[in-house]
Symmetry: C2
Subunit: 301 residues, 2 copies
Amino acid sequence: MKYYIGIDIGGTSTTIGLVSQEGKISDRSVILIEGFASGPIEPFLDAIVDAIQALAKRKGVTIEGIGIGAPNGNFYNGTMEYAPNMPWKEVHEVAAYIEKRLSVKAVLTNDANAAAIGEKQFGVAKDMNDFILITLGTGLGSGIVAGGKVIYGHDGFAGELGHSIVVPGGRDCTCGRKGCLEAYVSIRGLLETYHAFEVGTVNTPQEIAMKAEAGEQAAIETFMKTGAWLGLKLADAAAYTSPEAIIFFGGIAQASDLFFPSLKETLEANVHNLYQNKIRIMRSGLPLNDAAVLGSAALVM
Amino acid sequence: MKYYIGIDIGGTSTTIGLVSQEGKISDRSVILIEGFASGPIEPFLDAIVDAIQALAKRKGVTIEGIGIGAPNGNFYNGTMEYAPNMPWKEVHEVAAYIEKRLSVKAVLTNDANAAAIGEKQFGVAKDMNDFILITLGTGLGSGIVAGGKVIYGHDGFAGELGHSIVVPGGRDCTCGRKGCLEAYVSIRGLLETYHAFEVGTVNTPQEIAMKAEAGEQAAIETFMKTGAWLGLKLADAAAYTSPEAIIFFGGIAQASDLFFPSLKETLEANVHNLYQNKIRIMRSGLPLNDAAVLGSAALVM
């Protein structure tokens, strides 16, 4: 059996998983970001290296390769670039640093691309060559697979559906523009949509989901509007890459019963007839806490 | 020297070109559609076969392969499907029919994909792996190249940017929906935009271009608005495939001086900062009458 490392770098914590070639996480280690937030990035990368060595030693295995999923990760350069939710801005050569310290091949991509690769290798997209994976969390990330390959674009930054514009001149987005899909469909977007009904204050999408399930109209409509915004833009997405399926991943995706109906209705109402009734809307087949690690590991397999 | 056939099937005429491996059209034959319009498709396909045989005989060469660009062409099946501007609706197995009659490999794709392949093989995209080619004519066609390959999608119909929605609830499109980019940016779209100014009647985009060059404000604004609609949607396109360049082809593209400025301005104002000032807006490097034939031939090389 061959073993790989899958790393999921996130704004709060970073998970390092030891992954077998058949896609099982046999051990893992978690590093909290806050301990490193006030300094340069190297001590954080050294902590990742230490964790990898400890995992390999504990299980007595050799590491065949290291895959890294990082916010604003650039596949071509192995860099994390200007990640808005990380303490280290600018451009950081994450893959090269880890590869050099361990003399093991390290590959990096953005977290949504890693999730897409994981879904293809181990999840519901096993038999698909054309699909879009959407991660719904703090932001809206996406990984586009066409002809069996992730689309990286000429600069390594393709697949940012969260920053396509759904409402021209609409809500402010963290990217500095207005009306991006992410400003409507994300944790922040859901909260803003709900609070506009002025029926109360909530702190998480889960609270809105619970209210919707209890029959509160504002909460129900919040998810319906969320689905409709998604459906409108995913109709465009069909015209770009004609995917077999659009797969949702992340905490908000757990509430799919609440927004898939309006998503599908708006998608079919707005999609060109070439693509009508062809696109499957699905939830990820991977466990929420494992997908990014599995996907990152799959990147290097 | 090896020789190939490139076929450009269009609503008015079909051009069959004898193309050398270095991308020169050494002879060609044109078939008018109107002579076949009232009957089944087979006599038309037989006429294509006859023309291919005549070209090969005239030049004394062997044909290595046949590439076909067709409206609503499906790469996977070699079919032309429900093409709105052709006399033959439904699904027609064009490639298989020609391949069988001549015992030479025949491959088919849609006309915009063929133009994109031609641009990569022989035109301005020679050194590019990620670009979008847009054909501006009766409709707005597009071929998306990512990682060096045309994106076909799971059903063979990817790359229909003309049917992404630029004005929700806007102008009627020939596809039956409202607000598609093609309803604004195409021959018909330009005429409608110009006529809304109520300063006179024109029959072609060329007439509007001549009026714009003569300083007529309505004509100038027609092209400025056209560029702005394009820029808005191409900002989205960047977020999907992060192209190095967007290349324009077709009659309207000849008037690029009139709409590229507003296109670039709107694109840069609406694109995510990851992609800002990175995307080149260009005109095709291939002769207008040859690109589709060259691209179709390149498809099979």
